[in-house]
Symmetry: C2
Subunit: 695 residues, 2 copies
């Protein structure tokens, strides 16, 4: 193929696919809007949740605006420093890309939240009218709006900017560091959505449970609980906007680092750099088509078993990517090695999800063991969950290691980038499946609060329990894809900094690795503590409302839902500032002190440490959660037994693990990596302050 | 100085110091033996504990014998492989050194245990007769037997073997890999003593508490509890033999790696290799003298405040080492840089202890916070302790990093080795202070079980509470010294393997780092689970005894103490096989698969991951423990309150953290490092199986 024209053609096709995907998402959204939202009470509850979620988003985006402007000014300002002129990544161009990154990732989250909070009551209503198949249909449609939006917006922005800046700067090599700014923008949104959202959701959850269930003795999802709406909003904030922005960041980051690594690719001495740079776009484009086709495939039938429908959606999308990956691979390279990398990534992603399921589902022995250990008390429950999470790192790391080895064996460092792109190519469907969970969860809450027929609650409960499984699988996938993406990004960073090696025998690297490995621990300490603090605010507010207006508990007055939503929102955004600043300042400070080699060491130390903690916390948390549910299903004494009390302790400990601190790890490593990638050209011009550590 | 003769002279002086130290320890031991052991009942209880401890040691050493013989045959056998002939580290010589390492380290533990289990009743009796000063005197003497034995035996064996093999092989350069076998022998004993002992002590503790305190409702240290002797034995097994062998391993390892690094030292172009190789011995020798002088200093006075006496002992020893370190430094090198490295190590050691104290003592806010969080239940107690431990990694890592940077700045890689030697030079007094704690604890137990006057219990309680502080400080010191030693050893390994770099940009290094970072997690999962299993055996045995002989609870029949001791012993030794094999097999397997570069990566990954986990677990565990004690002192409702129940949960979770899994991290990283150091010359002769990962 003659490179230059084809590159533009392919990018245009990819852009067209992204636009079509967004139109499809819009169409889905309209379909969700047209559904019947049920009784007046259901509509009212849904609108409370909707308003709460939008209140959070608005407030969040306002904070993003302030901090984003600072970043934009910094990026643009760096371009005016004489010695940095001509460095493509910083300056006005980088700032523009950053702006679009925040805009598009923010838009994807906004649209997804609109759809999700619009769909919840309609899922409950569909369950009333048409049973399981209808309810699944609406819930999956709602989730798919986020899924398709994430990949649509993510790819649209990236491909357009890459095309434009290749044209403007005249060389794709110069365009890469510029579009890295787009990736930084996505990371930036993810930081707020995932970390802030994680604090929000657990503060509301813990607050609602502690005062409502434990102190006032009212059931979960009881409309008399002032924090109940905040709790439902939290599901959307954490698991819709947070999860979507997390995977959007991985998705964009994987493509950016692959392009960057691809631009040095040769095959048997022939320059294949342009093909290698475009190939990730092509795979992503095919992935979007695959996601839409899988979505349509599921819509064609009426499913009684939601798990089966969701599995089939994933398999269909994966199958399409594998087959077309083979075609694209031979078309672009006349070689099937890139196809093997893509497939490796896909398989790693699926395996990571299954390992997570093994350790967190009560169909397997680990969760049963934790449930059984709950019989001897709180401490043995905690210890069992703790060691289960720690144990789960073994298989996870082995799969990651084998994936890295194979990808590298097939196509060197570029292969690792392709592995990440492959894993994330089905992101459209993964996010859709993942986002369906919180919608079903909300639907259940609305059904409960609206006193709907028990069989409606049965359907939503079943949808929700499937959602728990998909959430666990999704978490494994998020961590794995973040690890692969961050890894590819660190390699791209080393390329950008022209590093020959990052040797652990250099004392500067060594101390940086140590420091980097510590960051995830400190970050975890901060986020977990933030949940506690925010939950305390919430507890005080609920207590205050109960005390000042006894009518609330009697059911005669409506509690002040908005007050609780407001407290969660404020606390979440306030509490995420410090961890956020650490994530941003650390790579800059280490880069200045220890230079690019040291920074590379810090990133790698943080990466391995964050992977372990993320896997451990996600799986411990998931296992505790399901051990509790297992006991509630009537095992070991069932609800109210001592074993159940111990299991509730584990579940409460696990909540901030799996929904706040664990997912925050994904953001931490990706954000630090992309900042480093952007900074690399600046740092290579400077002499590190502690340069004597590299002699 | 003319190198060759002086080297022998200095080594002879060091050997003489070590012998004198052992004579001093023998003298101390005799002094302890001459003390009055009190009433018949006290003597009987002491002898139960003594017999139980010896039963564990005998059984442990039998297992050590079997596994040790395998290692000896392997080491010796490798020497017969033609291509490996002429490699000094393996073969008969290495096997001999290994044998002496196990013997001397084993002897130190044995003597220390004899003294400690002999001293316990005498401390109680001394408290009856002479009050606090007498009790402190006996307890500190008992602890000092271990402290002085550890450094005496450790240094005696190492210096003698180094002298002999330098003479036999004609070159100190060839002697270093051989005496690394001595270090391996010490590591081997430490593995059994620390990991096995850690499982033993917590299995007995949890077993005794759960059935005794919770089910049967009898107080702690009640002689009717069949597991009470096993519990007291456990304190000796874990905190005397385990801690002693841990620090013995660090002590020997630090010297070995410094010699190894020293043999390439030049100053302004002049070869200073012999001086650099002998200097660590000289510092160690001075350290022993300092420890003995500090010991004598404390013995001179009658102390009413034990904490003050122990602090002064540490300061005196540190002061002596600093002053004589300056003299030695100028004498050996005509330069004060080595002195600066030594001092850096000493200060880092002290700071790490103080950080540990800050996070685990109820004089500081963190523990109070955990206690306060216990008021809202088990889960908030766990979360608060968890985040406290995680937070403590920040300061710990910063101190370590600054220590490494300074040591390197002063004297390159050799400086890092000297930092480790400096930190460990006062090991004699650190171990003495540390070992005093469990003796005081046992004395309290015997006082309680013998129904002595409450004022005796008051004295032993005060001694014990000081012991808790010294234990926390000691744990911080153990981790720090293990980290510094392992680091020096990894650098020595890289030297031995002639590695120019261990680059994180090599995929082989990268996957090895990932794998290495996972090992401490998996190891922790295994050891924590082992405690659970062993504790279950113990619980069943205690229940069985209570059921079969109701006379036990009535106080009319003596329970079968030996049965419980036997169960703990068997379980501990059985449960440590798998983690032990992982620690031994991992470096060998990775070395064969990925070669020396990969192995270096694995060691570094394991090192950083293990440091974080060790610090986190030790400080979480210590903080939970003292939060419970803080509540028991009457805060937040005191004993029996809901806050107390929650705090007991935290304490129980923390027990295997701080006393089993945490300390096991020290062993894991040192053992893997020393195995790698021994293997390096063998591995460099082989092509790694996955060699393509380094191209």
């Amino acid at each position: 193929m003659t490179t230059n024209i084809s590159m533009e053609v392919i990018l245009c096709i990819v852009i067209a696919i992204a636009v079509l995907a967004l139109l499809y998402a819009f169409n889905l959204f309209q379909a969700v809007r047209r559904e019947n939202a049920g009784t007046k009470r259901m509509r009212a509850l849904s609108s409370y949740i909707h308003e709460g979620a939008m209140a959070f988003l608005t407030r969040e985006y306002r904070v993003v605006l302030i901090f984003g402007l600072i970043v934009i000014m910094l990026l643009a300002g760096l371009g005016f420093i004489p010695s940095l002129r001509g460095i493509d990544g910083v300056g006005i161009n980088g700032a523009i890309c950053f702006l679009f990154g925040t805009l598009f990732s923010g838009l994807a989250g906004f649209v997804g939240m609109q759809a999700a909070t619009n769909a919840n009551a309609k899922v409950a209503q569909a369950a009333r009218e048409g049973g399981m198949p209808s309810a699944l249909h609406v819930a999956f449609n709602g989730g798919s709006v986020l899924g398709i939006s994430v990949v649509g917006f993510g790819l649209l922005g990236l491909a357009s900017l890459f095309l434009i800046f290749t044209f403007v700067l005249g060389d794709p090599r110069q365009a890469v560091p510029v579009v890295a700014g787009y990736s930084l923008g996505c990371s930036f949104i993810a930081l707020f959505a995932r970390v802030g959202g994680g604090i929000y959701t657990k503060a509301a959850d813990v607050g609602a449970d502690l005062v409502g269930k434990v102190e006032a003795g009212i059931p979960e999802d009881d409309p008399r609980n002032p924090a109940v709406i905040a709790d439902n909003v939290g599901d959307n904030v954490g698991d819709i906007a947070g999860m979507g922005s997390d995977l959007c960041e991985s998705y964009v980051g994987a493509i950016v680092s692959s392009i960057s690594l691809g631009l040095t690719v040769t095959l048997s001495g022939v320059d294949y750099s342009i093909q290698a740079a475009i190939f990730p776009f092509a795979v992503a484009g095919v992935g979007i088509i695959a996601a839409i086709l899988a979505q349509l495939f599921v819509r064609m039938k009426r499913w009684e078993q939601p798990q089966k429908a969701l599995n089939i959606a994933t398999y269909v999308a994966t199958g399409i990517v594998v087959v077309s990956g083979f075609v694209l691979s031979t078309m672009f390279f006349g070689d099937f090695k890139p196809f093997l990398c893509i497939t490796t990534g896909l398989i790693v992603g699926i395996l990571l999800g299954q390992i997570a399921e093994y350790y967190t589902s009560d169909s397997y022995p680990k969760v049963k063991e934790i449930a059984s250990e709950s019989q001897t008390g709180h401490a043995t429950n905690i210890i069992a969950g703790f060691s289960t999470g720690m144990e789960s790192t073994l298989l996870t790391v082995l799969v990651l290691v084998i994936g890295i080895v194979l990808s590298y064996m097939f196509f060197g460092m570029y292969g690792i980038g392709l592995g990440a792109v492959g894993m994330l190519s089905t992101c459209g469907i993964t996010v859709s499946v993942d986002a369906y969970g919180p919608i079903a969860d909300n639907a259940g809450g609305i059904a409960e609060m609206s006193h709907l027929d028990p069989h409606v609650r049965e359907i939503t409960d079943h949808l929700d329990s499937v959602g728990n499984t998909t959430a666990a699988i999704g978490k494994g996938f998020c961590i794995g894809s973040a690890a692969f993406t961050a890894l590819a990004m660190i390699v791209a960073f080393a390329n950008a900094a022209s590093l020959e090696s990052i040797s652990l025998l250099q004392p500067g690297v060594l101390v940086a690795v140590l420091f980097g490995a510590m960051l995830p621990y400190f970050f975890t300490a901060l986020t977990i503590r933030s949940v506690g603090k925010a939950a305390n605010h919430m507890i005080n507010e609920v207590r205050r409302q109960f005390k000042e207006d006894p009518g609330i508990l009697e059911g005669t007055t409506k509690p002040d839902y908005a007050g609780c939503v407001d407290i969660s929102t404020r606390a979440a955004l306030k509490e995420m500032i410090v961890p956020g600043c650490i994530a941003i300042v650390s790579p800059i400070a280490v880069g200045i002190l220890l230079g690019c080699q040291g920074l590379g060491g810090m990133l790698m130390g943080a990466l391995v440490s964050a992977i372990m903690l993320a896997v451990f916390m996600a799986n411990s948390g998931g296992a505790w959660d399901n051990a509790k549910k297992f006991i509630e299903s009537g095992q070991f004494g069932g609800k109210g037994s001592d074993a159940h009390k111990a299991a509730v302790t584990g579940d409460t400990v696990g909540d901030p693990f799996k929904d706040t601190a664990g997912p925050a790890m994904d953001i931490l490593i990706k954000l630090m990596s992309v900042i480093s990638l952007m900074l690399a050209p600046v740092l290579v011009q400077m002499t590190p302050i502690l340069n004597f550590l590299f002699q």
